[in-house]
Symmetry: C2
Subunit: 180 residues, 2 copies
């Protein structure tokens, strides 16, 4: 598959960013080309578009699947598998947040809980445990939000984000409002 110069430069950029996003260069490039192309693509097309080996594409797809970021299609009369990204960008964002939470927060939350169960052996352990408690509570709240987000419709999510600076005002009046 040929790729337009515009897509090409976006793909390169997403490759660069991929590493900063917990993925890696190839994964970033692969997802870019999938997101930016309307028709579902098969592994060979991706391999050709990005000039990477077929086996590398296979591994990349495996990982994108584990992130729930791609949809699988079958084209009648064609044995190949075709892949596309969700058409709703909010769905992609929601998935990214949830999956990153699973990878970045959940394991730590569990380690922090373990540390809280331990008996502090001295003063410095007591301090450490106090810090652990703070981190734990904060991360638990973030987890709650991420769960909340998971269940929100794209419309609602969009409305929430659009609040932007309005959020501060809302916080100020929230108590009054909810008491009615």
């Amino acid at each position: 598959m040929k790729i337009t110069p515009m897509t090409q430069s976006l793909v390169l950029h997403f490759g660069e960013m991929g590493s900063r996003w917990g993925l890696n260069r190839t994964l970033g490039q692969m997802y870019a080309v999938i997101v930016l192309t309307e028709a579902p693509l098969n592994a060979d097309q991706i391999s050709e578009a990005l000039q990477i080996s077929r086996s590398n594409v296979s591994m990349g797809l495996k990982e994108l699947k584990s992130w729930n970021l791609i949809k699988l299609h079958h084209i009648p009369g064609d044995r190949k598998e075709y892949f596309s990204a969700p058409s709703d960008i909010w769905e992609i964002a929601r998935t990214l947040v949830v999956e990153r939470r699973k990878r970045e927060l959940d394991p730590t939350l569990s380690t922090l809980r373990d540390a809280l169960m331990e008996q502090p052996s001295n003063e410095s352990d007591e301090y450490a445990q106090m810090r652990v408690k703070q981190m734990h509570d904060l991360m638990e709240m973030v987890t709650l939000w991420s769960n909340e987000m998971q269940g929100m419709s794209s419309e609602k999510l969009s409305a929430l984000l659009k609040l932007g600076e309005g959020i501060s005002k809302i916080l100020d009046v929230k108590d009054k409002l909810l008491l009615r």
Copy 2:
């Protein structure tokens, strides 16, 4: 500096997670030991506690400084520099969000803007540009939030996060409330 078993296991865990957090193993370990220790530490103490070279610590501190994650102290009569983490965990979280946004979103936002300025050369470019527009708008909203967060007090931030599932309800009644 000796390190208690409890701190030790937390440090190891944060090392593992470090890589998932856009830092790296050593950076994760370094920040863990700094956050979990009450007294500010100097480079030699960190080097000893983590069993890594003095030069590695120097490079790590440089990076932690660039993330605005550590505070510098001087102890009278001692020429060494001492480092600590903010005592307010919310401040740490706020800084992390802002710095990650700088690294993960800002460069992409600018690339997306560039792509939007270009003249689509054909139908597939038109589709790509439509996707770019969606991503751009979404990321811009997230940026707005991150800026908002930057200016929020720890108390307010905490209150906001505590809303948790309440956020949905608030969204539902927001229009009514703000119209009064």
